[in-house]
């Protein structure tokens, strides 16, 4: 039998790496076990066609929490973040394009071309969102309070959050309360009249979720995502070398801090004895005992498949099964022989350096969602496109480009057929849609990679293909993430913890869950 390790972290995604780093810094000896040949989880760069490298899954960071970048000294470990000035360019079928720059003044000028009133409202919205999201951000950095018996520090945390909430003033304070449960379509309509602008901002409330813009609660998703990124439509946050460069730097930082990392090492089982986690069993059959096990995998995979569920109460198992995580996203990566020409941009490639939004109207987005409700992928999908080779030419051969496309909605559960038989149909629909906004793009495609929700589950371990490890929703955030009473990174199994996106705050590639988890786990282990 192998020697007993201090801590084992199952999964080397970005949150696992962040947790490993902070726990190593705190004096623990974490061992990270990653199933794939490289760390990074869903934040990876790979060559998908000879000479073309791409952020295979996530293509824009949350962005990362600045304290994580600082504490882990990611820049010293080789990370060069790229923040293009054009955050989002929204395309429309009438060949007009709207670019929302990071600079509010410039964004306002662009909006004024559509509506003077909206240009004015944009700064009102921007300011309100910035104030509100900063207060929520404060709450997100806290561990959710213990729901049954809040401790003194829980109360203190709630009190300070409550105080800053009050400081917002009545108007914005009520907005916090009112906005959360609203449909994002209503929220944007309260401010703007231009359909293209409405749809572009509303998209933030539906990205990665099984919600349409008319679904109540989609505003909450927008608010949560705005906590790390108050740009109304979300900024673009890339890395030199693709998103994988972020996790590569994190890996280096975690190692330097004292964590050990083994790739190509699949954990088959988390061993539990008398309600206590005692270590892991690898696919190879090797057993590694440990003082505590921390899982970067989603709560369902961790507790229903890595752990033998008989160690849990039937009631708890049922609740886990009820966590809503219907995947709705597919990914397509394209190798292009040249830069496509988009309608409405007059060849201005600088507008293409950020994220490109295709989904020109609220109704367009909602109809795309409708298809998925009945088990079909969208006939006219909502696409979020990036061309990272514009800001980082090293990703493609000279003069050529890579294009990364998020495709929504692609429901994990198809009504007719399975994803293997629908893969090409999905690809064709995406190319057809792209072709409407960038005529001729089909002829530029040298090769393409289609990642269906099924692939997300099978290859990247995202249960049901859900990129956030569970819906961001009013009943699944903060003290309810992953489950009410279990929002503090611990599980009913002693010495088994969670640190992935399925825990609070879990809002994308920010590292927030991993950082919070490390802090709480370290406290718990010292008690």
């Amino acid at each position: 039998m192998a020697e007993t390790r201090d801590l084992i972290i199952v999964g080397g995604g970005h949150n696992g790496l962040v947790t490993a780093f902070y726990l190593a810094k705190a004096g623990f000896k974490p061992l990270v076990l990653e199933r794939r040949q490289q760390t990074g989880g869903a934040a990876i760069t790979e060559e998908f066609h000879t000479g073309f490298r791409c952020s295979i899954l996530a293509h824009s960071a949350g962005p990362l929490l600045p304290e994580i970048v600082r504490d882990m000294q990611l820049e010293r470990h080789g990370l060069k973040l790229i923040t293009p000035e054009a955050a989002v360019t929204a395309l429309s079928p009438d060949s007009r394009a709207l670019t929302l720059y990071n600079d509010p003044k410039r964004a306002t000028q662009e909006i004024a071309k559509f509506s003077a009133k909206d240009a004015e409202q944009y700064s009102v919205f921007e300011e309100s969102l910035r104030k509100i999201s900063s207060v929520i951000a404060q709450a997100l950095k806290l561990a959710p309070p213990d729901i049954d018996d809040p401790s003194r520090s829980d109360l203190w945390g709630m009190l300070t959050t409550g105080r800053s909430l009050r400081k917002l003033g009545k108007k914005d304070m009520y907005r916090v309360l009112r906005w959360g449960p609203m449909a994002v379509a209503d929220l944007v309509a309260e401010f703007f009249e231009t359909e293209l602008l409405r749809a572009t901002i509303a998209a933030r409330g539906i990205f990665g979720t099984a919600l349409g813009p008319w679904s109540a609660g989609s505003s909450l998703v927008l608010l949560l995502r705005a906590t790390g990124d108050p740009h109304p439509a979300g900024s673009a946050s890339f890395a030199q070398g693709g998103i994988g460069a972020i996790t590569t730097a994190m890996t280096a930082a975690a190692k330097e801090a004292g964590a050990e990392i083994r790739t190509g090492t699949e954990v088959k089982e988390i061993r539990v004895k008398d309600g206590v986690a005692t270590g892991v069993v690898l696919a190879s059959g090797e057993e590694i005992p440990a003082r505590a096990v921390i899982s970067n995998a989603d709560p369902r995979r961790t507790l229903l498949s890595l752990v033998d569920p008989t160690h849990l109460t039937p009631d708890f198992v049922q609740k886990l099964q009820n966590i809503r995580m219907p995947g709705t996203v597919a990914k397509m990566n394209l190798a292009l022989s040249a830069l496509p020409k988009f309608n409405g941009l007059n060849g201005d490639s600088s507008a293409l350096r950020g994220r490109i939004h295709i989904g020109p109207e609220i109704d367009y987005l909602e109809r795309a969602f409708d298809d998925s409700k009945y088990g079909a992928f969208s006939q006219h999908p909502y696409l979020e496109v990036t061309i990272p080779s514009l800001t980082d030419p090293s990703l493609a051969p000279a003069g050529r480009h890579v294009m990364s496309v998020y495709v929504q909605y692609a429901p994990f559960k198809l009504k007719g057929g399975d994803w293997d038989s629908q893969r090409d149909a999905l690809g064709n629909t995406v190319v057809k849609t792209l072709n409407e906004y960038a005529p001729g793009i089909a002829e530029l495609i040298e090769d393409g990679q289609i990642i269906t929700p099924k692939d997300l589950e099978n290859q990247y371990g995202l249960t049901s293909g859900h990129i956030f490890h569970g819906e961001l929703a009013l009943d699944q955030f903060f003290t309810m993430r992953p489950l009410l009473g279990w929002a503090r990174y611990a599980t009913p199994i002693k010495n088994l913890y969670l640190c992935g996106s399925g825990t609070h705050p879990g809002v994308g590639l920010t590292g927030g869950s991993g950082m919070n988890a490390a802090r709480e786990i370290s406290k718990a282990l010292r008690e």
Binding site: K170, M173, L177, A183, A216, D363
Partner: protein, 532 residues
């Protein structure tokens, strides 16, 4: 020269909330005047003889939420209120089967077991869990919402009270409560049941009167209402008022009159008279001015503040909030005079199933597709229809051997897509409802003597419900409790001194509950003091 009169309180609108408000105030010794625009009292809780001999509950058609304290305080049975039971819900299915739930637990259990044994067991558990939730929610329905934005210790105590009650629940109940308040009806029901038609029919209560689908978050909460109904103390019963829904309003009106309130019909008001930021009276459309120390409006905020007042009399922020308050009516009504009873293919003959609610809600997908049509400005090609035939239980409402049938229809969006208008679509809408029913009860077309079709536009014009919303404003999470109708003004008071709100647009909202009218009366009395 117009006549000048003076009252302690003038109540605008003689709907059930306005009347309740008036009754409580009159009982406290106030000199109260109720002004109703129409020729008949009751607002949307009204019985009218639309066709000679047939008395229809024109709008609201069943009762379950009427607050027991109001029935008690106003002694409504003595004033003629009699609630008759409405037993069960019958859902015909396209495959020739049906789901028929009744108040008898054993029967319902066996019926559900016919569809799924697991569901039959879960149904019992579900009922128990819902009742635990009701016990938490009930006191909230009876309280004046706190204002979370103030530092007033009294308000904070109220918040603390809610917090403590929540803390006092078991983890299991907390879990259910949080889910109920935030989830979609279908997501919530999916956790308990597998039978599609059961989930579809149960979820329907979550969408009534809202512009939401059964899969929209926030619709689970209304499931509770079905377990909150208290008629003669029995949980979960729905009922009819003998003589139609208007009998409820009439009983309340009778109680108010007995306490000394004066009630005038055909007295439409033109504006609220405001002097120095104080409401001092109302001007009727005929030019009469009537003065009162307090003006209590039971009509919705759009009418109260944007029609009966001028924007400049109100703070700009407040006007902005009132303007964005969402109505979005989503339902219509078809009232039918019948020559005989409908005959359902799946259960032929005049059985007891016709005495309950008849629900056209065969599947979750059916419900969701009905919603999809409405999102894009169309009435549902195949709508959710909730029907009752009160004449089976209360023969007084129809000539012998004949019947009245009331059909609540959703979705019928107030705002149709560009190019369509309700006046032109009324017939198509009505016929579509009949066609829908005919798929399950084909004889319907042969037995209709007459029918009245009410579109959302008709509800607005006839009954003063802005955009045809039956609850005076959408019951969505962002418009409930301390956010209803607008943040900062959820305590029945308004920015104008002596002007109060007492209708369904205030907490706890719509349905024939009477709670807003009562709570508003108690708040008014706190400010001005009771006489006796």
């Amino acid at each position: 020269m117009p006549s000048v009169q003076k009252y302690d309180v003038i109540v605008i609108g003689g709907g059930h909330n306005g009347l309740t408000n008036a009754a409580y105030l009159a009982r406290a010794g106030k000199k109260v005047l109720v002004l109703e625009r129409r020729h008949v009292l009751g607002g949307a809780a009204v019985t009218e003889e639309v066709f000679p001999g047939f008395k229809s509950s024109v709008c609201s058609y069943v009762v379950s939420l009427l607050r027991p304290e109001i029935i008690r305080d106003l002694d409504l049975p003595r004033h003629g209120l009699e609630i008759l039971p409405l037993d069960g819900t019958f859902t015909p299915m396209p495959n020739g089967d049906y789901l028929w739930r009744v108040n008898d637990h054993g029967k319902t259990r066996r019926e559900i077991a016919r569809h799924s044994k697991l569901d039959a067991e879960a149904y019992e558990e579900f009922g128990k869990a819902m009742q635990a939730m009701c016990r938490f929610v009930k006191p909230i329905l009876g309280m004046v919402p706190p204002d979370p934005a103030t530092l007033n210790p009294k308000e904070l105590m109220k918040l603390l009270f809610i917090g403590r009650r929540f803390q006092g629940m078991s983890l299991e109940d907390k879990y259910n409560q949080v889910q109920l308040m935030t989830m979609s009806a279908i997501d919530f029901l999916d956790q308990w049941f597998e039978t599609d038609v059961l989930k579809a029919t149960m979820s329907a209560s979550g969408i009534i009167g809202t512009f939401l689908g059964v899969r929209s978050p926030g619709t689970a909460y209304v499931l509770l209402h079905h377990y909150m109904g208290e008629i003669d103390g029995a949980f979960r019963s729905w009922g009819f008022a003998r003589g139609g829904t208007g009998a409820i309003s009439n009983a309340i009106a009778d109680a108010a009159r007995e306490a000394g309130a004066e009630i005038r019909t055909k007295a439409p008001i033109a504006r609220i008279i405001v002097k120095n930021n104080r409401a001092v009276g109302v001007a009727l459309e005929n030019g009469d001015e009537i003065y009162g120390d307090v003006i209590s409006s039971s009509v919705d905020p759009r009418l109260t503040f944007l029609r009966f007042m001028e924007e400049k009399q109100l703070p700009g922020d407040f006007v902005e909030e009132v303007k964005r308050y969402k109505f979005r009516g989503s339902s219509g009504k078809v009232n039918i005079a019948l020559d005989a009873l409908p005959d359902f293919k799946c259960l032929p003959g005049p059985g007891a199933h016709l005495r309950g609610a008849l629900s056209i809600s065969p599947s979750v997908e059916y419900m969701e597709r009905a919603y999809d049509d409405a999102k894009y400005g169309n009435f549902s090609r195949r709508p959710y229809v909730d029907m009752v035939i009160p004449s089976l239980t209360d023969p007084s409402v129809a000539p012998p051997g004949k019947h009245v049938m009331s059909c609540f229809v959703q979705y019928a969006p107030y705002k149709l897509r560009p190019g369509l208008n309700w006046d032109e679509q009324r017939d198509a809408f009505g016929n579509n409802v009949i066609d829908t029913i005919a798929e399950y009860a084909p004889n319907i077309k042969d037995i209709i003597i007459n029918k009245q079709v009410l579109t959302p536009l008709d509800l607005e014009r006839e009954f003063g419900l802005s955009e045809g919303n039956i609850f005076q404003g959408e019951l969505s999470l962002e418009q409930l409790f301390f956010l209803r109708p607008v943040p900062g003004y959820a305590q029945f008071r308004t920015p104008v001194k002596n002007l109060y709100m007492c209708g369904s647009a205030t907490h706890p909202g719509g349905g024939i509950m009477g709670a807003p009218g009562r709570l508003a009366a108690l708040e008014i009395l706190k400010d001005v003091g009771a006489v006796k």
